[in-house]
């Protein structure tokens, strides 16, 4: 368990990226807030992966694992109640570039073994979650009573609209 500063320095990159993302969560346009939140979860995942290696503690990977699983669930639930999730190329590209860029070097360092399997798995879940949530689903306009529509119920047309866009 020796700390390797290199990985910690690398972790600084996504960590510092969180600051502008925070700005978007706080001040961004309403529909971008959820995207920013989604991005923040992805970046947090990177930091967790990198620091687990940096601190030399493979057990910390559990955190990244749990985050990878909870993140899409959280985002989608919010999307349902907050009124939809616009397509987010930024999230998608961050995931497509960032996940391999983070996971693969980590795999190389940790060599073949359980840890690598875990890393690859976390990477896959992160990527899949980000891919789906960034593809711009519109569960908001589904005709569910818990959507954003008033108590009078929603017009079915909005649901059809959503279906068409899929």
């Amino acid at each position: 368990m020796s700390t390797s500063p290199g990985w910690l320095v690398a972790a600084m990159v996504p960590l510092l990226c969180l600051l502008p993302v925070l700005w978007f969560v706080v001040r961004g346009e309403p529909r971008n807030r959820l995207v920013a939140q989604n991005l923040a979860q992805l970046l947090t995942g990177f930091v967790l992966l990198l620091t687990a290696q940096g601190f030399g503690r493979s057990t910390y990977l559990d955190l990244a694992l749990v985050l990878a699983i909870l993140a899409p669930a959280g985002t989608l639930v919010y999307a349902r109640f907050l009124g939809g999730l616009p397509p987010a190329p930024l999230v998608r590209w961050t995931a497509v570039v960032g996940v391999p860029a983070t996971v693969l070097p980590l795999c190389v360092v940790s060599g073949a073994g359980r840890e690598t399997v875990k890393l690859l798995f976390i990477g896959a879940v992160l990527l899949a979650g980000a891919w789906v949530t960034s593809s711009g689903s519109q569960p908001s306009s589904e005709p569910e009573p818990d959507g954003t529509d008033g108590p009078s119920g929603s017009e079915p047309s909005s649901g059809e609209r959503a279906a068409k866009r899929d």
């Binding site: 368990m1 030399g56 503690r57 057990t59």
Partner: protein
């Protein structure tokens, strides 16, 4: 760095209180309460930190490793649970409050006076 974590904890506590005092919406107030509570997490964990220490989890490190204080972590865990439950209960109250009063603005909820 010797003071920063403590000061941050103090800042969060006070800023949460500020939010509670000036809140115009009880849901927002409950959120501010959650913020206030996070000051206790930060303070507790800052107190338990040890320079160069690692987590007191001996699954993958030797048993004589330099570790941080596990006690504050256990306390904080308890605290996190307490916070979540209090939040849940207060939000349940807010929902019913809104049903009966039609508002969640404390300025308009002033039946219990004098």
């Amino acid at each position: 760095m010797t003071l920063l974590p403590y000061l941050v904890a103090g800042w969060i506590f006070l800023v949460g209180l500020y939010g509670l005092v000036t809140s115009r919406n009880l849901i927002h107030a409950v959120g501010c309460l959650a913020v206030t509570q996070s000051s206790t997490y930060v303070l507790l964990l800052a107190i338990g930190y040890r320079d160069g220490g690692t987590a007191p989890v001996f699954a993958d490190i030797p048993t004589d490793a330099r570790v941080v204080d596990p006690v504050v972590q256990a306390l904080t865990l308890t605290d996190v649970v307490v916070g979540a439950t209090v939040t849940a209960l207060l939000l349940a109250l807010v929902i019913q409050l809104h049903k009966r009063h039609g508002t969640v603005d404390p300025d308009e909820l002033s039946e219990l006076k004098g």
